[in-house]
């Protein structure tokens, strides 16, 4: 695929340049003529047969056929058989599809010396390679990787035996700078239709000058660079020739020994990295508190805020195992996509460090913060200083085509798995918040670390934090995870607002406090949108929620929201785009099937005993999901429509009041009932805005309360004739009752306006 792409680009460039004014290219007078010349000649696509006789005044240039016949003797055919390694597929180049088709991958190579072949680096770790064969002159010999070129995308193979009919490449003298334009590129490659092909093309199609950086000439990705007379001037595997400085062409003639990394050296370096990571990439185990079951919640399954995130969010996991990277003496950076809700439930964090005797030592750690912009958390190990941390402050820089080593350590399968590989740097790209990310040759996001060949840290793979969700689509794309340069990461960690202070482990009672506006709302659909004349603004009812009720004293009430307002979008101060309030979540927010309360009358009230679903809507809906992602104490702008007019209001987000599932509760073991403080939605449901009382949430079977006829959702309005005003006073009064004392306690229970007296002997 890469080949075809390159061919396409080249062709396009050619065609464009054929019609482009020459002045565009004339930065350097020396090359002004040559490109024009090269373009003049090359009109056809891909396989060019240049049989022009126009350039008599130029040096004699061989035509394509002649070039091929001259250079044929250097070409060899490399056949690579790949395999899966530990369940992983080789994902670069054509390897995966060739593996699936049970055939080897063919790549063209060039004989370097009698038993060495040089070819483009396919950037595949040797663990995926089953066997390599090199064929020429009718003979096929086994081969293996000898080494990698550090700064050029090329790899050397070592042959078991020599091959007949082929000769090693010989270089001529390097051309003068002004003659660079007359170079041509030659590439020997395998076409997918089964034929081997040689491309001869203009080596220099254009020139690029990057501001503040080196300029370069670019052209066809020809592996061999040849002079007009067919002599080999140099090698270029990535299509770029530097145009400044002395080493503009890599000839290889004066091959610097340290330009090659042998396979053995690579293995050694990987081992070094592995040893370092044994101390710097540690197992972090996070234990979560069990999910607080929403009592009597109708749906029966736990809804998470971020419904569209795959992976660990939304699961009722009790523990996860992650990789944490030691970035300081006791600080670890743990890339993970835990969201606010999961973090609130963190109970304990432990880190396994390698002990002196080879056994792992488990240390406990504290949660230090979740990064604001990145999916990662920081933890601090207690009471110990650890060695061997990764130094983000003193990392290394990338260079084009430069090889670097990758290492991925993960604990997905609960045991340490290290995957080693290598890659080549292609360039930077501006991604998240216009910050640089790394574009590599394989472009594989391994979720790992990148090291330079001399062991310095280059980059770490991090994903940007998804703040809010309004598309409750389980298949929404994952946020970008990419290699971030070390300098960027260390800068991010040093920022004052690096950490989101509102994301932290919470005590059980506080866990369920979500950030709410204080409204009950419902979805819109197309018909309702038309009725309210908001079809266009809500995109036919796809976004927007209709306010049904505004709780007194809530942020919404203070902001002046009213019933029938249609809430459209929320503007988060930290984001440039406002977030639409989607409708999709709504169906989980209301009772989706009949509540038992409808049948209450049929049962005659008294006779029904058993768990009942809560008749009020869940507080989880599209609005609270967005607000929960934004966080506390943020000034948001809420856009809404009232009577056809667009309006907006500013609201400071604050933690919601407790609701039924997070209300203060008290269980009397003696009497066998559990009561909860009246929370806002319970008050609304029972029409008890200001009056006191507590609501029964559970009655133990066979207990005194059950015998006395208490049922869930009864309100306890009076105790011993006196009104229940305060939850705490009620709790104290019930606790003060002495069992077996012969006294009795009387409760007045109310349900939907009907009361009953219950007298219990202690």
């Amino acid at each position: 695929m890469k080949r075809i792409f390159e061919i396409y680009v080249f062709t396009l460039a050619l065609v464009l340049l054929a019609f482009a004014p020459q002045s565009l290219l004339a930065q350097d007078a020396a090359v002004a003529d040559a490109p024009a010349k090269a373009v003049d000649e090359k009109q056809d696509v891909a396989k060019v047969k240049a049989d022009d006789d126009e350039d008599d005044e130029e040096e004699e240039m061989l035509n394509g056929d002649e070039v091929v016949s001259m250079l044929k003797k250097h070409f060899v055919r490399v056949k690579i058989w790949v395999k899966k390694d530990d369940g992983e597929m080789p994902m670069v180049y054509n390897f995966a599809s060739d593996l699936g088709n049970e055939k080897p991958t063919f790549i063209g190579g060039y004989l370097w010396d009698e038993k060495t072949v040089v070819m483009e680096d396919f950037v595949l770790h040797d663990r995926f390679i089953r066997s390599i064969e090199v064929e020429a002159g009718g003979k096929s010999v086994p081969a293996k990787i000898k080494g990698y070129l550090k700064d050029t995308q090329a790899v050397l193979l070592e042959l078991n035996e020599s091959l007949p009919g082929v000769e090693p490449i010989k270089f001529c003298e390097a051309p003068e700078r002004e003659d660079i334009g007359s170079l041509r590129g030659v590439k020997y490659f395998y076409q997918q239709d089964g034929n081997w092909c040689t491309n001869v093309s203009g080596a220099v199609a254009g020139f690029s000058k990057i501001e503040g950086k080196k300029s370069y000439l670019w052209g066809a990705p020809g592996d061999l660079l040849i002079m007009p007379d067919g002599q080999i001037a140099g090698l270029s595997f990535s299509g770029k020739i530097s145009s400044e400085g002395d080493d503009y062409i890599w000839e290889g003639a004066d091959l610097r020994k340290d330009g090659i990394l042998t396979l053995a050296e690579k293995v050694e370096k990987h081992a070094e990295i592995k040893a370092r990571l044994a101390k710097a990439a540690l197992l972090v185990k996070i234990d979560f508190r069990a999910v607080v079951e929403e009592e009597n919640q109708n749906n029966g399954f736990h809804q998470s805020w971020n419904m569209d995130r795959q992976g660990i969010n939304g699961n009722d996991m009790s523990e996860i195992m992650l990789t944490g990277f030691l970035i300081g003496e006791s600080r670890l950076l743990v890339p993970t996509s835990l969201n606010r809700e999961m973090i609130a439930r963190i109970e304990a964090i432990s880190v396994s460090v390698p002990g002196a005797d080879g056994k792992a030592e488990v240390l406990s750690a504290n949660f230090s913060g979740a990064l604001n912009d990145w999916e990662a958390i920081l933890i601090d190990v207690e009471g110990r200083k650890l060695e061997g941390f990764l130094d983000f402050a003193n990392g290394a820089e990338f260079a084009p085509d430069r090889m670097f080593l990758k290492s991925n350590v993960n604990y997905w399968l609960k045991e340490r798995k290290e995957r080693l590989s290598y890659d080549r740097f292609v360039g930077y790209f501006r991604g998240y918040k216009d910050m640089p990310a790394i574009w590599t040759h394989t472009n594989e996001d391994d979720g790992s670390l990148a090291f330079s060949l001399d062991g310095k840290l280059l980059a770490i793979s991090l994903a940007q934090r998804t703040k809010t969700n309004n598309d409750y689509n389980a298949y929404a794309p994952q946020p970008n995870s990419a290699f971030r340069p070390v300098a960027l990461v260390s800068g991010e960690l040093a920022k004052d607002d690096a950490v989101d202070l509102t994301m932290k482990p919470l005590a059980k009672e506080k866990e369920k406090l979500s950030i709410t506006l204080g409204v009950e709302s419902q979805n819109l659909d197309l018909n309702l949108a038309r009725v309210f004349n908001v079809e266009k603004d809500t995109r036919g009812g796809a976004i927007g929620r209709l306010v049904l009720y505004v709780y007194p004293g809530s942020p919404a009430a203070k902001a002046g929201l009213e019933e029938k307002d249609i809430l459209l979008r929320i503007k988060d101060p930290d984001r440039t785009e406002p977030i639409d309030i989607g409708s999709g979540y709504g169906m989980y927010g209301r009772n989706s099937f009949m509540s038992r309360f409808d049948d209450y009358d049929d049962f005659g009230g008294d006779d029904y005993y058993g768990p009942m679903q809560a008749p009020w809507p869940s507080r989880q809906n599209a609005i609270t999901a967005i607000l929960s992602g934004i966080g506390e104490n943020k000034k948001i702008n809420l856009e809404f429509i009232r009577n056809g007019e667009k309006k907006s209001v500013s609201i400071t987000t604050q933690k919601g009041r407790p609701d039924f599932s997070s209300a203060k509760k008290f269980k009397s073991k003696e009497l066998g009932f559990t009561v909860k403080e009246l929370t806002y939605e319970v008050r609304r449901f029972f029409k008890r805005e200001d009056e006191g009382g507590v609501v029964v949430s559970k009655v133990e079977p066979g207990s005194k309360a059950m015998v006395g006829g208490m049922l869930p959702y009864n309100l306890v309005t009076h105790m011993n004739g006196k009104p229940v005003t305060d939850f705490n006073k009620f709790k104290a009064a019930v606790e003060a009752l002495q069992p077996g004392s012969g006294t009795s306690v009387e409760f007045t229970l109310e349900y939907m306006g009907k009361t009953r007296l219950v007298k219990i002997e202690m």
Partner: protein, 510 residues
């Protein structure tokens, strides 16, 4: 006592002391000894194999002799000894009683209109009744003739006729119908007996048409004469083990004198032979009211009472007279009189109120219901240590169930909210209309309307009662030119809900 009875009684006494008796009793646990006596020979055949394992020949011989004696005596002397000393053949008693009442039993089939499925649908159900007057007045249950459009009756002699409802009362589940048979002026009828004289253990017979099998009789005893059930606000029940099944509703429960002492009303699916009948005294007073007014007028005070001693709820208050006020409805006469929860009502209109047990409550409710409407009464209540005198003016109880309406094009049936029938909905909206049923598949279901939703407004017009909704609906469907969509505001679990009902689709493909 005739000689045969004499032998029977004494041999029974002797027999009971023997080892044989106790062994047999153990073996024959499920069978009553009376049964044993009735079918002596067959039992001999049956038990001998069991017995032979443990007994010796002697016992076996004794068993055979005894069985023979008992058998013959039993066949000659079976029966109860009546209270006046006269011994009657029990079988004769049964026959006499049956003959007296059987001809008065009618099998009723009713075509009624049901609104539950979101559509007004006719369905056929069956029940029984008993003619109580020569002119053809018959008593049956309210639920047999509820919402009926056609009643057909079948008499014992095979005559077929029609009936119409004179009056019915939901609270006591009784109805009075008038039978019309062509060419018939006079009908056999049964007498209503005095249910206050009943005791447990008396033999009773239930007549009717269980599972539609008309002209059936079953025999049992009175299991309880003062049974309290939650759905009997104004009366206690007679409990019997006579076999009563669906279809027996409305049929008579008669004693051995041939008097109708109850109307069979409730059965149980899991209780075996356990069923409940309305005592005849209740029937008497209800029928006289139905005859006069077509319905039973009751007074409503808004008080719900609770007994002083409630074993079920383990709640016991120290007092031997009076009744506890459990609940006072909002805006009710009791609330306006100042009655509060936990008050102990001692007298009403001078009459002493005694509600010590649950079984006392229906009488108290009945008493309160019989108070004259719009006439103030004096109540003496005890609040804590204080004694108070309050004046209360009861009002008419009125309807106990709201009317129905079928919005056919919308595929939904609606009903008026009634304080007594829908207390939970009434809590949210005192006057209004709610969705009784939605048809599936149907326009209402597709638009998201659910059973139990209170309709607040349709098309922007408020809906306060059923008439308003009827009017809105009829006008809407008549209008051919309008868009077949309407905006509705509902109240669901106390929270408003907006939706657009699209009724363009025709789901009734006739």
């Amino acid at each position: 006592m005739n000689p045969y009875t004499y032998i029977n009684v004494y041999t029974v006494a002797w027999f009971k002391k023997s080892q044989l008796y106790s062994d047999l009793n153990l073996l024959l646990q499920p069978f009553s000894l009376a049964g044993f006596m009735q079918n002596a020979l067959s039992y001999v055949v049956r038990i001998t194999p069991f017995y032979s394992e443990r007994a010796n020949m002697k016992h076996r011989v004794y068993a055979a002799i005894l069985c023979a004696i008992f058998g013959s005596c039993a066949s000659l002397s079976a029966g109860t000894i009546s209270a006046d000393g006269k011994v009657q053949d029990f079988r004769e008693i049964i026959q006499t009683a049956k003959k007296k009442v059987f001809p008065a039993v009618v099998f009723i089939t009713s075509i009624s209109e049901r609104y539950e499925g979101g559509k007004k649908e006719k369905s056929m159900s069956a029940g029984s009744g008993v003619i109580i007057s020569e002119t053809g007045e018959a008593v049956t249950n309210w639920h047999v003739v509820d919402k009926t459009v056609a009643l057909r009756i079948l008499l014992l002699d095979g005559e077929v006729g029609e009936a119409e409802v004179i009056g019915s009362d939901k609270d006591t589940d009784l109805a009075l119908i008038k039978i019309k048979v062509e060419g018939r002026e006079k009908f056999p009828f049964a007498e209503l007996g005095d249910s206050s004289k009943l005791t447990e253990g008396q033999f009773v017979m239930a007549m009717g048409a269980p599972w539609g099998l008309s002209r059936s009789v079953s025999l049992g005893i009175l299991s309880c004469t003062t049974r309290f059930l939650p759905n009997g606000q104004y009366n206690l029940w007679l409990q019997t083990d006579a076999s009563i099944n669906p279809g027996n509703s409305g049929g008579p429960l008669i004693n051995t004198s041939g008097d109708v002492i109850g109307i069979n009303t409730l059965g149980t699916f899991y209780g075996g032979d356990m069923a409940f009948s309305i005592p005849s005294n209740v029937v008497k007073r209800t029928v006289s009211a139905l005859r006069k007014d077509g319905k039973v007028e009751r007074a409503w005070t808004g008080i719900r009472v609770q007994p002083l001693k409630d074993f079920e709820r383990n709640t016991f208050y120290k007092a031997d007279t009076g009744v506890l006020v459990a609940s006072v409805d909002n805006g009710s006469p009791a609330e306006m009189a100042g009655v509060k929860v936990r008050d102990l009502i001692l007298t009403v209109n001078g009459a002493e109120i005694k509600g010590v047990n649950r079984e006392d409550l229906p009488e108290i409710n009945q008493f309160l219901a019989e108070l004259a409407v719009e006439k103030p009464v004096e109540m003496k209540v005890k609040r804590g240590e204080e004694q108070l005198t309050l004046t209360m003016t009861p009002r008419k109880k009125g309807k106990v169930e709201g009317d129905d309406f079928d919005c056919r094009d919308w595929n939904v049936t609606v009903k008026a909210i009634n304080e007594f029938h829908n207390p939970t909905l009434f809590f949210y909206r005192k006057k209004g209309v709610f969705v009784q049923g939605v048809k599936y598949p149907g326009n209402a279901t597709n638009s998201g309307i659910r059973r139990g939703d209170i309709i607040l407004s349709v098309d922007g017009k408020d809906v306060d009662n059923l008439d308003e909704l009827e009017k809105i609906y009829t006008e809407m469907v008549k209008d051919e030119n309008r868009d077949k969509k309407t905006t509705m505001v509902l109240l669901r679990n106390g929270l408003k809900h907006y939706l657009v009902l699209d009724y363009a689709t025709k789901f009734e493909q006739d």
